[in-house]
């Protein structure tokens, strides 16, 4: 299974929080179709639909999307629109629920809170940040509130992330060079992170933020600079310097990060080098480099409840859904041998197919935490014996359980 799906759209996207997830796509801002259309659409897709190349539903939006997010209770989709509005959609009814223009400039990004499904944070140009309550968006005259005062002047916001444990804490990052940590209870920016690159000697741009899935003091930042595109892992207990530097990966600026919520040892990144990568952020190891795309890869996200899958969007009119693993098999090798034997004309007609079959480069095979038996795995054997894994997965025990009333059957087993 190379790719589960590929949608011919230059669009931002969001996954639903379901075991068999849906994907929502919204026409990306700042791009132009081949037909110069200015239409903007929100579309919903299902991998299991009998007709997977057709969207399940389409909603027309007011303006093009800079970002899209799906609430954790799956009830609301929020779009960050290029015209300064935040538009809310109902994925069940395929309609727009509310559209509120509070930002004075384009809305660049937004994120739903993991613990409070009705809370949303939006960030835009000129450092504009707002906190929204989706329970109130249909109330006339509703306005979102500002999170508090900044310690430093903030510039355009590109990225937002809510702390996964402390629902009143979030982080923002953007053009200013700082990543800021905000506390809604304190109503202010409480810490900011900055990093001077040893490569360039300059203050690096921290343009993407992403919190650790469990540890409330750990945060990752991605550098948008092409000359030192590193991912930094910080522990806020010592915010002076990063704990881990993930280099030797991207060759140009990083545009997106996603720390897997089901396995803290997995993180996806993508960037202006047209590539998506999988990392072990704890060990700082680059695990997999996925096949290069035709243009900037601006967003990549695990399916939150089915993280064997991830989606990534690039500016070459493609959203791809892939599985984390795509190993080379005997069948691929046979196909290669077959290709080497084919004639010149056959080769040229098959060149594009071969590209789409390109395999990721696996630097290290690391099984995600949701794999592998984590139980006693008890199995019956000859003679009424039961073999089970004991001692927390380190020992094996062979026993012969006695079952009241059916000893006879066990005799038959012997």
């Amino acid at each position: 299974m190379v790719k589960l799906a590929e949608y011919p759209r230059t669009a931002t996207f969001a996954w639903s929080h379901e075991k068999v997830p849906l994907l929502a796509t919204g026409t990306a801002a700042g791009t132009i179709d081949a037909d110069f259309s200015s239409d903007s659409k929100l579309e919903l897709w299902s991998l299991l639909s009998p007709n997977p190349t057709e969207p399940l539903g389409t909603i027309t939006a007011d303006a093009k999307f800079n970002d899209l997010d799906w609430s954790y209770d799956n009830n609301i989709l929020a779009g960050a629109l290029d015209n300064g509005a935040v538009e809310f959609f109902s994925p069940k009814d395929y309609n727009s629920v509310a559209k509120i223009t509070k930002h004075t400039m384009p809305v660049n990004t937004l994120r739903f809170n993991a613990k409070q499904a009705n809370v949303l944070c939006s960030g835009g140009s000129n450092g504009e940040l707002y906190i929204w309550d989706t329970n109130k968006i249909t109330t006339p005259g509703y306005v979102p509130f500002v999170p508090g005062t900044a310690m430093t002047p903030i510039d355009d916001i590109y990225s937002l992330a809510w702390n996964q444990n402390q629902s009143h804490v979030f982080a923002s990052a953007g053009a200013s060079g700082f990543a800021s940590i905000w506390d809604l209870k304190a109503k202010k920016e409480v810490i900011h992170l900055s990093y001077t690159s040893p490569v360039t000697g300059l203050k690096n741009q921290l343009s993407v933020v992403e919190w650790h899935p469990n540890n409330s003091t750990k945060i990752a930042t991605g550098s948008g600079f092409d000359n030192d595109p590193v991912i930094l892992i910080w522990d806020l207990r010592n915010a002076n310097a990063p704990q881990q530097v993930l280099s030797n990966g991207h060759t140009k600026g990083i545009l997106s990060l996603d720390w897997c919520r089901q396995d803290e040892k997995l993180m996806l990144s993508s960037g202006r080098d047209n590539t998506c990568m999988l990392w072990n952020p704890e060990q700082g190891q680059n695990l997999i480099q996925f096949p290069t795309r035709g243009n900037w890869c601006f967003k990549t996200k695990f399916a939150p409840e089915a993280p064997d899958l991830f989606a990534s969007a690039s500016f070459d009119n493609k959203i791809e859904i892939q599985t984390l693993q795509n190993l080379t098999t005997n069948l691929d090798l046979e196909e290669d041998v077959h290709k080497q034997r084919e004639s010149e004309t056959e080769f040229w007609t098959h060149v594009s197919e071969k590209d789409s079959n390109e395999k990721p480069i696996v630097n290290k095979l690391q099984a995600p935490s949701w794999y592998g038996n984590k139980s006693p795995a008890a199995q019956w054997a000859f003679g009424g014996k039961l073999v089970s894994i004991t001692g927390g997965g380190k020992d094996v025990t062979i026993s012969k359980p006695s079952i009241p009333g059916i000893e006879k059957n066990f005799m038959l087993d012997d």
């Binding site: 589960l4 693993q325 190993l327 794999y371 139980s375 006693p376 000859f382 025990t397």
Partner: protein
């Protein structure tokens, strides 16, 4: 009772006794498989098999009529076949048709020959026959879109009727929360989807076919949704009937289901480290047959 302590350096995922209950195969995240000789209350490590490049999830012994043969599967996308001859173990075949983790391997009932069924996270299951002079080309099926967690053969059965024929079936469970029944079609030389069973609300981790050859077929499926469903079918045809093993949910996710060789006791293992035993009473309800102390 025999306890083998610290058999591997990392988590053990599977442990299986051979046909005679004399040899135990274990496999682990440490990428190895170990073979122990078990005699009464004693045990002895006789071999450590290296070959997989990732965690090894499952092992399965072939029927002794084919020799001392073991199959293993791993996150590295491969199923490997191992053979012992004159006390020496060697890897005799590599089954590498899956592009993602192979999560389960099981040998078919011996009547069908040395047929191996493998289930993979690439969404496919494969059936391959190992012959003296190598392997036949595998049959590969698209089974569960988001990944196959488990696959299990039905016991060898003959279908009644005017033209009695072998009824070769297996069952699969997937990350799409479904259980599917597949049946061999000799004309097409492939397995066709016979039934799709809906009932779980989360990943199906294991599904096993009861080995008892009765008029009624029994399947047990366990899931991350903390339920176990018993599926029954009369006379190998018609609809499958769904019965929850117990109405309320188990305390933790369920990983494994195993039928005793006579088919009447079901062992369920869960993430809470408990093994519970179950049997069907005369009224057709499932009741507890005890808890195995760990």
């Amino acid at each position: 009772m025999v306890t083998i302590s610290n058999a591997h350096t990392e988590l053990i995922h599977d442990a299986v006794l051979d046909y005679y209950g004399k040899r135990l195969a274990t496999c682990s995240s440490d990428k190895t498989i170990k073979i122990f000789e078990v005699e009464g209350e004693t045990h002895k490590l006789i071999e450590t098999l290296h070959g997989h490049e990732g965690p090894v999830w499952q092992v399965d012994w072939a029927h002794p009529k084919f020799g001392v043969i073991l199959a293993s599967c791993s996150y590295d996308g491969k199923a490997l076949i191992w053979k012992e001859e004159n006390g020496r173990w060697s890897q005799i075949a590599v089954h590498a048709v899956h592009s993602a983790s192979v999560n389960s391997v099981q040998w078919a009932p011996h009547e069908y020959g040395p047929l191996l069924l493998a289930a993979s996270s690439d969404g496919k299951v494969s059936v391959v026959e190992f012959k003296e002079n190598g392997t036949t080309s595998p049959i590969i099926l698209d089974a569960h879109a988001i990944g196959v967690n488990t696959a299990s053969w039905a016991p060898a059965t003959i279908q009644d009727g005017p033209n009695p024929q072998q009824l070769r079936r297996f069952v699969t469970g997937g990350a799409d929360n479904l259980v599917k029944i597949w049946k061999y079609n000799a004309d097409a030389n492939t397995y066709l989807l016979e039934d799709t069973l809906e009932g779980h609300t989360d990943w199906v981790r294991d599904v096993t076919w009861s080995p008892s050859v009765l008029l009624r077929s029994y399947l047990a499926s366990v899931s991350q949704d903390r339920t176990c469903i018993i599926w029954t079918q009369e006379n190998n045809q018609g609809p499958w009937k769904k019965t929850l093993l117990k109405e309320d949910k188990f305390p933790d996710v369920l990983w494994r289901a195993s039928w005793s060789l006579s088919g009447n006791i079901l062992a369920i293992s869960g993430g809470d480290n408990k093994v519970t035993l179950w049997k069907e009473n005369l009224e057709g309800n499932w009741e507890s047959a005890g808890v195995v102390d760990q």
